[in-house]
């Protein structure tokens, strides 16, 4: 035997040993893949075991639910490119419309489940440093020169898109004109030093990297930060007007028909609207759509004046076209910086 072979032998043995390691864990009877947005991780960590237990009881079938999280538009892009999601649980209607246009999701997906297929809503609020040293009370405070505002990128995240629209809606109400709104939002985004790809990235920038005076994010995320990162470091501020962010869900028809999982996928999404699912949702600081459950947890959810995209801004299609399409108002504002 040559010296080379002798020297390489242990290396080759090791490599051969690694080859036999199984790459994928053993699969249960049925699996679902839930592709979701960035900050719903903790919610589905609780929803999934509850539904799996219920499905075991009622359908006598062992179910495994896999999760994938990331910026919502990025996630939708992955599903469109072939990520085999049985269900998508997003935070804004346009994302699912993208899939509907490609024939992955039924065109009338919003009619498939109650409340426009949105099991919960949340709204956009502020998180400031403890004691609110900059005295931030409302949207109008955010455009002060020199203030640093942390917002996720409206191009890649629903969270950022709602922030943009909430600011637009507030200014529209105050100034009464599109020009006034545009001027206000331009000033606001001039105060944004970092645009993170997703809601959680923005949170990390604000809480871990200590950048910025105020983080604009969803209510559930702000409350979660308060609990997880330490309630003595931040304060939650509710602005005078906010936007209602409904979180829509849909079954990905093309995938469930291929995999034969339509029954499980539909039951899974229906579970979100059941009292048990709504309770879990409320515990994670999302506002449940079931009025009884919302009332039960009313102490967690201060009354906020909100508007909707459909009610005030002419619907998502119009908003997409004017604001977020390439070369739209958002692009013009950012280029101006």
């Amino acid at each position: 035997m040559s010296p080379t072979r002798a020297a390489l032998r242990p290396v080759l043995t090791l490599l051969a040993g690694l080859m036999v390691l199984p790459a994928v864990p053993a699969l249960a009877d049925a699996t679902l893949l839930n592709v979701s947005y960035d900050v719903s991780r903790e919610l589905y960590k609780d929803i999934n075991p509850a539904f799996i237990a219920q499905w075991q009881r009622t359908a006598k079938e062992k179910l495994t639910i896999n999760q994938s999280h990331g910026g919502s538009s990025k996630q939708v892009q992955a599903v469109a490119s072939g990520l085999e999601a049985d269900v998508v649980t997003m935070n804004q209607t346009p994302d699912i419309n993208v899939l509907a246009r490609q024939g992955l999701v039924a065109a009338d997906w919003q009619k498939a489940f109650p409340h426009g297929a949105a099991p919960y809503t949340t709204n956009t609020i502020f998180l400031v440093r403890k004691g609110n040293p900059k005295g931030i009370k409302d949207w109008s405070d955010l455009v002060r020169p020199g203030l640093q505002v942390i917002v996720p990128n409206p191009k890649t995240s629903g969270n950022g898109r709602y922030t943009y629209l909430a600011a637009w809606g507030y200014a529209l109400q105050k100034t009464g004109s599109d020009a006034g709104a545009r001027d206000f939002v331009t000033k606001l985004f001039a105060n944004v030093p970092v645009l993170d790809g997703g809601g959680r990235g923005a949170t990390t920038t604000f809480t871990q990297r200590d950048i910025g005076d105020v983080l604009i994010t969803f209510e559930n995320e702000a409350v979660l930060i308060d609990q997880e990162v330490g309630g003595d470091k931040f304060d939650v501020v509710y602005p005078s007007l906010s936007i209602e962010a409904a979180a829509p869900v849909a079954v990905v028809s093309k995938v469930v028909d291929k995999r034969g999982t339509r029954k499980q996928a539909t039951a899974y999404l229906n579970f979100l609207f059941s009292p048990e699912g709504q309770e879990i949702i409320a515990k994670h600081h999302f506002r449940p759509v079931d009025p009884a459950i919302l009332k039960k947890y009313s102490s967690r959810f201060p009354a906020v004046k909100t508007f909707t995209v459909e009610g005030k801004l002419g619907g998502w299609d119009a908003v997409q076209r004017t604001h977020f399409a390439d070369g739209g108002v958002y692009d013009q504002i950012v280029v101006k910086r």
Partner: protein, 297 residues
């Protein structure tokens, strides 16, 4: 990087020769100044972050540390990372030797093009390396519909992760071998052929022993990158927990979920793998230095 294994050893002798002569000796101030600057830089930018990883990992104690590593999703990520490395490293070993052999032993048209192509994965951003696979094998890609009809998954599954890893680690072995084999020339192989050796015999008994340390060095670098790759793998992964998350992706997920101790625990395991790689690399350099000295004598 090329030929580094043989060159680095013996630098100590070289430096000692410089120091022993007054004409080539630098003033003490300059010597210590340069030393201080490089050590400070090393300490702040390399050592400190490395220590931080381990300190943060153990902040909540050994129990949390081990719990984070044996947790099913973490374990799946570790296995996937090792699998991707175990497939891509041997593939690139075979490819690297073949390419280096072809380039240094034969004359043919398009040789420079081949050399340039081998370097491509170095110059292309990892994100692009991932995207090309999505564009080729994704649902709307060239082969997407065909793959879907035959119920095969490439992107957002293990094959895609292996492909992306193979792509980004493509150049390491070939790039290490080409200068080495070029420097050695064809004399010994020609002598072997004259003495009656056949192709494979020449390869096993002449070529391979001559390049073995360079080869091992290339394999080590290749393996280090295969285990640590983030960008390309992130694009093709789909981020399904317990299935398509590699260790670097799992670290990001844990960090984003405020599980800092767990994130740093997995990161420390990655860092440990890197340190082991470094130790093996140093040993290889040492052996290579010894064998090159022997051959000079």
């Amino acid at each position: 990087m090329s030929g580094a294994a043989a060159v680095l050893h013996g630098s100590a002798d070289h430096a000692a020769r410089f120091e022993s002569k007054a004409a080539t000796r630098e003033p003490a101030l300059v010597k210590w100044g340069i030393l201080a600057v490089s050590l400070t830089f090393f300490g702040i930018f390399l050592l400190l972050p490395l220590i931080t990883v381990f300190v943060e990992a153990l902040r909540k104690g050994w129990d949390v540390y081990f719990a984070a590593l044996i947790e099913p999703d973490a374990w799946a990520a570790i296995k996937l990372t090792l699998t991707a490395a175990a497939i891509s490293v041997p593939l690139n070993l075979v490819f690297g030797v073949a390419a280096a052999w072809a380039i240094t032993k034969f004359e043919f048209r398009g040789k420079h093009l081949l050399i340039t192509l081998i370097d491509l994965p170095f110059s292309v951003s990892p994100v692009v390396s991932g995207l090309i696979y999505v564009l080729v094998f994704g649902a709307q890609g060239w082969f997407g519909p065909w793959l879907s009809e035959h119920d095969m998954k490439v992107v957002f599954a293990v094959p895609g992760i292996v492909l992306a890893t193979v792509f980004v680690t493509f150049p390491f072995v070939a790039r290490e071998l080409i200068p080495l084999m070029e420097a050695q020339g064809r004399d010994e192989e020609e002598a072997a052929v004259v003495l009656g050796a056949r192709g494979w015999q020449t390869f096993w008994y002449v070529t391979l022993p001559n390049v073995k340390w360079g080869l091992l060095y290339g394999v080590i670098l290749c393996n280090a990158r295969a285990m640590g790759e983030f960008g390309a793998v992130s694009v093709v992964s789909g981020h399904i927990r317990g299935q398509t998350n590699t260790m670097p992706l799992h670290v990001e997920i844990l960090y984003n979920e405020y599980q800092f101790a767990a994130a740093f625990a997995v990161a420390s395991l990655l860092a440990l793998l890197a340190l082991v790689t470094l130790v093996i690399k140093t040993w290889v350099e040492h052996q290579a230095g010894k064998s090159s000295q022997q051959s000079e004598e």
